[in-house]
């Protein structure tokens, strides 16, 4: 954040497709060198914002600034941003090396130099041996890395990544997450990462914007989003939450409004004592063995079903089964208020 000029500044950015408003007056500043994620369900507008920044779509209203320059009206080839596409968009008729060198080629850089630079970029993603192959001869993870090398070889100021890990299997995805983070640290450029995977967003990002219905629902660090969700949507979308509507909150917490408690902040036992401990009796509906933990689904007598995540450590003594009567306990500190009565009137999730 030493650079006073943000890498990206969106002001009142709006995009309408016919009658549908995909992006609705989004204001956003992304600092230079930041790993920034845009998280949201499909149709929330996150990808459209990315495409607007890349220049593939023209906004209906608002402006896009790149390091202080207004680039709103500029063509994609006139912007210092590059994209890693969801389907990688590698040119199938070119070799891997030609793909990586493409950006240099259309910029008129000489053959010798562009091959040299493309080779270095390929080496940085550990694919120096694959230069002569066609993209179709590579695995998903390798294609992903080629796409990354192709986008970074032209040294963009901002790299846009559109669900780049979506097509990979879990193991590879986790491995690529680490690599992405490393590459970002090495290059020191701004990454804008679009994903619908909340875990991925929390793992990778410095800050996350949660999108819903074309607007930013909440903007903050992963910890802020997880610990202090500002709305019911964020509490529900980022991680798992036990939501208490107005009536349940009154009975269990003694105050109105919608509240949420994370499953891992709750415990199941015979009740705890303490100044800020809340105890609620209920009946076990389901126990799910997760390996490292155990998830218990409990119907509280107050009329709400909660999910409790217990560590599978040596302190664990209970072996509750379906139908057992238990007491669910949590600390008042861990309760997050999600706002007033208008939200409360919505049906409980």
């Amino acid at each position: 954040m030493t650079d006073p000029q943000p890498a990206i500044r969106l002001t009142g950015l709006t995009k309408e497709f016919g009658a549908v408003t995909a992006v609705d007056h989004v204001d956003l500043e992304i600092a230079a060198g930041e790993f920034f994620s845009m998280l949201g369900p499909s149709g929330s507008g996150k990808t459209t914002v990315l495409r607007l920044i890349a220049g593939f779509e023209q906004p209906t209203g608002g402006t896009i600034e790149l390091f202080g320059d207004d680039v709103t009206k500029r063509a994609p080839f006139d912007r210092d941003v590059n994209t890693v596409f969801q389907d990688y968009a590698l040119f199938p008729h070119m070799s891997v090396l030609e793909n990586v060198a493409y950006g240099l080629r259309v910029r008129g850089i000489g053959r010798k130099e562009r091959i040299e630079r493309a080779r270095r970029a390929l080496a940085s993603v550990r694919l120096e041996q694959m230069g002569d192959r066609k993209p179709s001869q590579l695995s998903g993870g390798q294609r992903q890395r080629v796409a990354l090398a192709r986008a970074t070889v032209v040294q963009p100021k901002v790299l846009l990544l559109d669900e780049p890990l979506g097509a990979l299997d879990l193991k590879l995805r986790e491995q690529m997450q680490v690599e992405l983070k490393e590459i970002q640290r090495e290059l020191g450029i701004t990454f804008i990462f679009v994903t619908h995977d909340q875990e991925e967003a929390l793992t990778l990002s410095d800050r996350v914007a949660v999108f819903n219905n074309g607007r930013i629902e909440q903007l903050g660090t992963p910890a802020e989003l997880y610990e202090r969700p500002s709305s019911r949507f964020v509490a529900d979308f980022v991680g798992t939450s036990n939501l208490f509507d107005d009536a349940v909150s009154r009975e269990l917490l003694g105050r109105g409004g919608v509240h949420s408690v994370r499953p891992e902040k709750m415990s199941v036992g015979s009740g705890e004592t303490g100044a800020d401990v809340r105890n609620a009796p209920g009946t076990v509906v389901e126990t799910i063995y997760l390996g490292s933990g155990i998830r218990l689904v409990v119907d509280l007598d107050a009329g709400v079903r909660v999910s409790v995540l217990e560590q599978n450590d040596r302190n664990r003594v209970h072996d509750d089964e379906r139908g057992d009567r238990v007491v669910v306990s949590w600390h008042d500190d861990d309760v997050v208020a999600l706002g007033g009565a208008d939200v409360a009137s919505a049906p409980a999730a």
Partner: protein, 329 residues
Amino acid sequence: MTMNATAPASARGAASDPPEPDRADTAPGGAPRRGIPRPKATPARRASVFLSSHPRVRLGFLLAAPLFWLGLVYVVALAALLVTAFWTVDSFTGEITTEWTLDNIITVLTGSLYQTVTFRTIGVALLVTIIDVALALPIAFYMAKVASPRARRILVIAVLMPLWASYLVKAYAWRSVLSQDGILEWVLAPFGLHTPGYGLPATVITLSYLWLPYVILPIFAGLERVPDSLLEASADLGGKTWPTIRHVVLPMALPAIIAGTIFSFSLSLGDYITVNIVGGASQMLGNLVYTNVGAANNLPLAAAIALIPIAIIFGYLALVRRTGALDNL
């Protein structure tokens, strides 16, 4: 896979029975199924069961009729033509003599008339092909990548529509357009220009018009298969319009373009009606074939002339085979 492929057949074969897969009868565990009666073993059903487990028999049934048709009508007719070229006509009686001779072939290869007409025909076919590709590329690109889905449907219909009209009607329409007092003359006259009249230019214009849909459609299909994200990726990496077309669009559309040129080239090569209608005095290979079949009553010579376009097309196909364009037909 086998079960899936045969399910419709079994449903069709035993229309009155529920199309229940057979494995249900022998399901492991063999729990009695309540409510749903087992399908009856009708002859049609038994036939379906037999076919479902004998894929080769199935394939045989499926291909017998078309292969018979292809073999008899297409290959045998072509072979008969080839054979006829090596026979001769008794100039006195006009009867075909089935004596083997290379005279017709030699006549066709060495006669200056045949050489001239052959080169003229190739020239016309090449020119038509070039004009058609030049016209088809932007139209196909607009249809595949720019137009809205609705506009695209309308354009596809618009391109197909001329194919629903008779070839003769279209050729005569051009005869009227190109005539000395036709609409083209009327349009061009204020600019000091004139209609080309009937002749080779008119032939090229008319053939280009006739074969244009056959060139647009494969190129359109080929371009439609190029993902939009590739064009976006090119722009994203700094490629402006022309580099994107040169390095991404054209290389990827090349097989489709070549597929289109096969149509315009081979159709032009064999045409004789358009030349008759708008070609004035000029002749193409088709006309020579036509004259020899009809007026001259020399079928062997006609067959020998007809071998020329066949040979050219085979040469052309061998050339384009290397590009992989034939995978795209």
